[in-house]
Each structure stands twice: as structure tokens, then as C-alpha cells.
């Protein structure tokens, strides 16, 4: 039990020293978030089509419930949040579908909100025309502009799109696949089955949520929650990267979060340089942004440049979910001889490949691919601990005490025997 390499005296002296120094403190996490240059940006998109006249929410018309909710949201708006409001089907009274389907206006531009002006603009709305959801979404994305942070659209509607094409769900998927991170949260006012399907599809395609609002309180509470969420989470945006079909010319990644798209049965390769004494950590999430067959899986492998597999992370599942994730750690074995004789350390390039086993349902679109989120980190390696040179536990104490007692007894008996013999001679 006692360390074989040192004498007991040295041990006791050093024990006092190490006890004073104490264990090394854990590395403090670098938690300070980067201060983003942009404020959070949200746009509310409200359907003001003719069907909003229906009086079926607590005996009030849908539009008056929506107007009240908007007023409360504008009052409770956090100061730093930039809010815009866009309406669809608000002005064209005619019967011409072609004209009616171009009917969408931004009544409050995205920016710091003038509360009185915004409320006045909402108060004048009267249910009127068609429901061009797809066009409104596309315009809302333009209103929010492009930038480094996430944008959020809250779509409030009571009826399905009457202007397809473009199909609003395809528009949502196309917007999500563009560079800017865009989330569309949908709210259905007293929705029927078709509306629910459509809004679920829009929300799923962009990583947003769907809510069926059946009372004024529910609507107000949910919009407030979504606007707050926009403020809390808008800085979390990954860098867009395009993985390649093989390792040789794959993009070189530094630590951080990346996003990419991967089609069914596609392999996407990336490269990460790892120096000796470092550990590679990678995780991947593939989002199910469209209907797929109920059983699926995702595989993340790390290979050497010659194709030898180093380690893999895998996960599979079945049923309804948002993302499937896998992760891995890898560090070079410690006793690897350094190949360069000149006293330098060359970084080893590790290839990462992401593959999936999703199966498209009949009629499911295959392009663009499904969203992939890749996290890469390179940290100091954690070498295997040496065998425990010291012991711990009550059994150890008992054993040492017994050994000491037996040694004392034997030594005592020997001494007595020796003294007796010495006296006799």
C-alpha cells in the first residue's frame, strides 16, 4: 500500500506539502458570451383575411382577440427587442385571386417600437381578403434582413393558405435553408385539420413550435413567451459550412458550432486538426424537419486520413422527435512516437463523417437536405490515471492496524526470546 518508490519519511514530508497545496482547481469555464452587435429581431405576421370575422373565441371575433393580444404584447415588449408587424389579406376587397394573393403589407417596420403608433396601426385592421401565407413569410424574412443572429417570425392565422403556389411549407423550408437562421413559430386560431397540418409543417421545417390558441389568454401568453424566447436565444447561431463528399478536400474546422445540410443517405466529411496532447470532442444533431419513416439513426465517425476508424458515436430512435444526436471523444494514444525529429509537434488531421439512416416517406421532398448541427471542440487530453499508489477505506485501516499489531507482537516475542537467550549465555 505504501508507495514503493519513496521512503516513508519523504512521503510524510511531501504529504504535508501536498495537503497545503490542495487539489488543482477545475478549469473555470469561459462562459462570457460574445456581445452581439445586433438586437433581437421578431416579426409578427397576422392573418387579416375575411375568415377572421368569425365570432368563435369566447364569443368574440378572432380579429378582436388578436388585436387585444397584440396590444398586450406591445405593452410588455422588452426594450431591446426590435419588433415588426406584417399583415396579410388586409386591404384587397375584390374577387381577383391573382391580385388578392399579393396583398401583404408591413404595418410596423422592424425596429425599436413606438408603442402608441404600433397600437394605432393594429387597431385599424379589418378582416378583408385572401390568405397569401407563403408570400407573407417570404416578405417577413426580407423585413428581418440577414445578419449573424437568429430571427424569429410568429405567424398567427386562422385559415389555410388560399394562394398556393407557393406552398407556405415549401417557402418555410426554402427560407430555413438560406444562410440566416430563421425560426417560424405558428399559432392557429381555432384551427381545423387542414390549418393544423399546414402550420405543423411550417413550424417543423424551421425548428419552430405550433400552438392551437382557443382563448384570448392563451394567445397573449404564447406570443409573449415567443417574444421573450427570441430575446433569450437569438445569439445562438452556428457558422454555415459545406461538408464535402470525401475527406481530402473537406473543410478544416476550428472549435465552435457549425450548421450544414445533409440529404438522405448522404455522407458529409469535415476535417479537424488535433495536436498531440489534445482531445477532439465532436457532436452532431440531425433535425427531422420533414416527415420520415418512424425508425431512424445518425452516425458520427472519426477516421484517420488513411481511412482507419478511430471512434464512432451513434444514436437511433423511433417515433416523434426533433433531432437525433451523437457525439464522440478522441485523443491520440500517449505513447505514439512523434514523427518529426526536429523538436516540433505536427497536428494530426482527423476526418469526421456524418451519415444518417433516415428513410423518406413517399412524397417527401428530398432537397434541400436536413439541417445538421455540428459542434467541434479541441481541449487538453485527459491521460489515464496511474494505478492507485495509495489506498482508501476502512478495510485498509483494519488491515494496516492488524499488520502493525502482528508485527509488534512478533517483535516483542522475538525480543523476549533474544533477551532470555542472552541472559542465559
Amino acid at each position: 500500500m505504501i508507495n514503493k518508490r519513496g521512503s516513508a519519511a519523504v512521503l510524510i514530508g511531501l504529504l504535508a506539502a501536498t495537503a497545503l497545496i490542495g487539489p488543482t482547481p477545475a478549469r473555470a469555464g469561459d462562459d462570457t458570451p460574445e456581445t452581439p452587435a445586433e438586437p433581437p429581431k421578431v416579426e409578427l405576421v397576422l392573418d387579416v383575411s375575411g375568415s377572421m370575422r368569425a365570432r368563435d373565441i369566447d364569443g368574440r371575433s378572432r380579429i378582436s382577440v388578436a388585436q387585444q393580444a397584440f396590444n398586450e404584447v406591445v405593452d410588455a415588449l422588452p426594450d431591446e427587442t426590435e419588433l415588426g408587424i406584417r399583415v396579410l389579406g388586409a386591404t384587397y376587397r375584390g374577387k381577383d385571386k391573382k391580385q388578392g394573393c399579393l396583398d401583404t403589407q408591413q404595418i410596423v417596420p422592424v425596429g425599436p417600437v413606438d408603442r402608441a403608433q404600433a397600437k394605432a396601426a393594429v387597431a385599424t385592421l379589418r378582416p378583408t381578403g385572401f390568405t397569401p401565407v407563403g408570400l407573407a413569410l417570404r416578405s417577413a424574412a426580407q423585413d428581418l434582413g440577414t445578419g449573424s443572429t437568429a430571427r424569429r417570425i410568429v405567424l398567427i392565422t386562422d385559415g389555410e393558405d388560399t394562394c398556393a403556389p407557393p406552398d407556405p411549407c415549401e417557402v418555410a423550408r426554402e427560407l430555413a435553408a438560406q444562410g440566416t437562421k430563421l425560426v417560424v413559430d405558428t399559432l392557429g386560431l381555432a384551427p381545423d385539420e387542414k390549418v393544423r397540418r399546414q402550420l405543423l409543417c411550417i413550424a417543423g421545417a424551421t425548428g419552430g413550435t405550433y400552438t392551437a390558441a382557443q382563448s384570448a389568454d392563451e394567445l397573449t401568453g404564447r406570443i409573449k413567451q415567443l417574444v421573450d424566447r427570441a430575446r433569450d436565444t437569438y445569439t445562438a447561431t452556428p457558422t454555415v459550412v459545406g461538408g464535402s463528399a470525401e475527406c481530402d478536400n473537406a473543410p478544416l474546422l476550428g472549435p465552435g458550432v457549425y450548421t450544414d445540410r445533409e440529404a438522405f443517405a448522404e455522407h458529409r466529411w469535415y476535417r479537424v486538426p488535433v495536436r498531440p496532447g489534445q482531445e477532439l470532442r465532436a457532436s452532431v444533431s440531425v433535425a427531422l424537419d420533414r416527415p420520415v419513416n418512424p425508425d431512424y439513426g445518425v452516425l458520427l465517425r472519426a477516421t484517420a486520413t488513411d481511412g482507419r476508424e478511430l471512434v464512432r458515436g451513434v444514436d437511433a430512435g423511433s417515433g416523434r422527435t426533433d433531432v437525433v444526436s451523437a457525439g464522440l471523444r478522441w485523443s491520440a494514444a500517449e505513447d505514439t512516437p512523434t514523427p518529426s525529429p526536429s523538436g516540433t509537434q505536427t497536428a494530426e488531421t482527423v476526418c469526421l463523417v456524418v451519415s444518417n439512416s433516415f428513410a423518406a416517406r413517399p412524397g417527401t421532398q428530398v432537397t434541400p437536405g436536413m439541417p445538421v448541427e455540428l459542434t467541434v471542440d479541441v481541449v487538453a487530453a485527459s491521460p489515464a490515471p496511474d494505478g492507485p499508489d495509495l489506498g482508501r477505506g476502512w478495510a485498509l485501516l483494519l488491515l494496516l492496524t492488524l499488520a502493525g499489531l502482528v508485527t509488534g507482537l512478533v517483535a516483542g516475542l522475538l525480543t523476549r526470546w533474544w533477551v532470555a537467550t542472552w541472559r542465559e549465555n
Binding site: 457558422t239 458550432v257 433531432v323 444526436s325 478522441w330 485527459s382
Partner: protein
């Protein structure tokens, strides 16, 4: 012969004094009695993805309103030696059309799925039920594990609460979620050795693409460390030293026992 009897008596005394202490030193954990820590602020938010997960602390209650079909994410920090219990209740204020299956899943900082050792991880709520309870007890967090293993390590853990099977008309209906993460064992006292150089806390900053392979770095000369060969500081030093002291005392006692009894 008399010496032997005295020695046996001494041993028995030592054994008796040690045994009850050993028994009482075993951790008395009682999962199931999860209560929020007094004074902990209630969290009323939830994230919707790994990147936007809401950070909570063990003992901090969560109460949030959501919609059926939302995927709700929270994250908490775990230290070596701790065992976490997650208890959640989903209540349904409105009537539903059919049975639904709910799940609470836990992932580590590398988004690797973590096993639950106990608890109702995927319960099914009948159409008439007004609430459903979920639970998950995680494995004890280890201070170190090989990179190739999936053992739980110190760092960030993600909790995802969602519905895995639900009739489509029920999607979007409001739900109320209560969640509490409680913890057993306050770090440190763990049977394992080794230490993770950096906890499994994901780097959530936007990545930067590298344009060229990094140039070779001059190898760092390993500093000569006088105490480098010593085992790490920790409780093993205390135990072993205490054992040495006890052995020395027992040796002296043993030696004294063999002394020729003084004649009256």
C-alpha cells in the same frame, strides 16, 4: 498464553470500534423525496434546442407553460461523484382525444444519450388522465473515463421533455410542465481515480473555418517536476496516512502485550 488472550482482546476491541463507524459511513440516499432547495428561484422558461437550452441548477424548480408537441430543453451542471434525479409532471388543462406517450431524455455535453437507471422515462397518459409523471435517475458521474467509453462525466447535461406518440388533433394543445432536478452526493468522494482535463461543456460559439492546416508547433519541453511522480492529492493520502499511524500504534501495543507481566 495470557499474552495471546490479551492480544485477541485488543484485536476484538479494534474490530468493534471500527465496524459501526464503517456501517454509518455508507451514504444514506433516499431518492424519491425530491424537494426544491429552499429559496431557489423558479425557472419559467425552456429552450427549444440544444443550443438554446435554459440553464437550471439542481434543486431549482421549473414551471413552464407549453404546447403539446414542443420539445423542451434544459441544461444543468454535474460534478464527479454526484447522482442526479429528474422528476417531471406534465398536466393537461384541456381534454384530449387519445392516449399520448411522453418521454424525458438526458444527454451529456457531447449530446450522447444517457441511460436512466430508474424512473418512468416514457409513461403513457390515457385520454382521460389529467397529468402524467416522468422520472429518470442518472448514473453516478465519474471523474474520468476513457475517450472511447460512454460513461457519465462532469460537465453539462441536457434534459429534453417531449411527446413521442400523440394523436395529431392533440398537437398544439396547452400543457403545464413541472420539473425538478435533484442531486445526491456532493462531489469529491468517489471511488474512481483520474481527472477530466476539461469538463464536457460544449463550445457554443459560432465556429471559425481554418484556411490552412496549422503549422507545426515547437514541442514543449516537459518541465522537470520534483513531485510529479507522487499520486494526486486526495483522500487516499489521508486514509493511507491514518492507516500508517494506526499500524504504528498497534505495533507498539502489540510489543507492550508481550512484556513479561510484572510480578506483584
Amino acid at each position: 498464553m495470557r499474552t495471546l488472550i490479551r492480544a485477541t482482546a485488543a484485536l476484538a476491541t479494534i474490530g468493534l470500534t471500527l465496524a459501526p463507524t464503517a456501517a454509518s459511513a455508507a451514504p444514506t440516499s433516499s431518492p424519491g423525496t425530491a424537494t426544491p432547495s429552499p429559496g431557489a428561484a423558479t425557472v419559467t422558461k425552456a429552450g427549444t434546442s440544444f443550443l438554446t437550452a435554459t440553464a437550471i441548477a439542481a434543486g431549482q424548480p421549473v414551471q413552464v407553460g407549453a404546447s403539446t408537441g414542443d420539445h423542451l430543453y434544459w441544461s444543468f451542471r454535474a460534478e464527479a461523484g454526484q447522482t442526479h434525479h429528474i422528476a417531471a409532471t406534465v398536466s393537461f388543462p384541456k381534454g384530449r382525444t387519445g392516449a399520448s406517450t411522453w418521454t424525458v431524455e438526458v444527454f451529456d455535453g457531447l449530446r450522447r444519450r444517457q441511460a436512466c437507471t430508474a424512473g418512468a422515462q416514457t409513461p403513457t397518459a390515457d385520454a382521460t388522465a389529467t397529468s402524467v409523471s416522468l422520472g429518470c435517475t442518472l448514473r453516478r458521474v465519474r471523474p474520468w473515463a476513457e475517450p472511447w467509453s460512454g460513461d457519465p462525466l462532469p460537465g453539462t447535461y441536457y434534459v429534453r421533455l417531449s411527446v413521442t406518440d400523440v394523436p395529431e388533433p392533440d398537437l398544439g394543445l396547452p400543457i403545464d410542465v413541472d420539473l425538478l432536478v435533484s442531486v445526491d452526493g456532493e462531489g469529491g468522494a468517489s471511488g474512481d481515480d483520474g481527472e477530466l482535463a476539461a469538463p464536457l461543456v460544449p463550445n457554443t460559439r459560432a465556429g471559425t473555418l481554418l484556411t490552412a492546416e496549422p503549422t507545426p508547433e515547437p514541442a514543449v519541453e516537459e518541465e522537470f517536476n520534483l513531485t510529479g511522480w507522487l499520486p494526486e492529492a486526495g483522500s487516499r493520502w489521508v486514509w493511507t496516512t491514518a492507516g500508517g499511524v494506526l499500524a504504528a500504534v498497534a505495533g507498539v501495543v502489540g510489543f507492550a502485550l508481550t512484556r513479561r507481566p510484572r510480578r506483584p
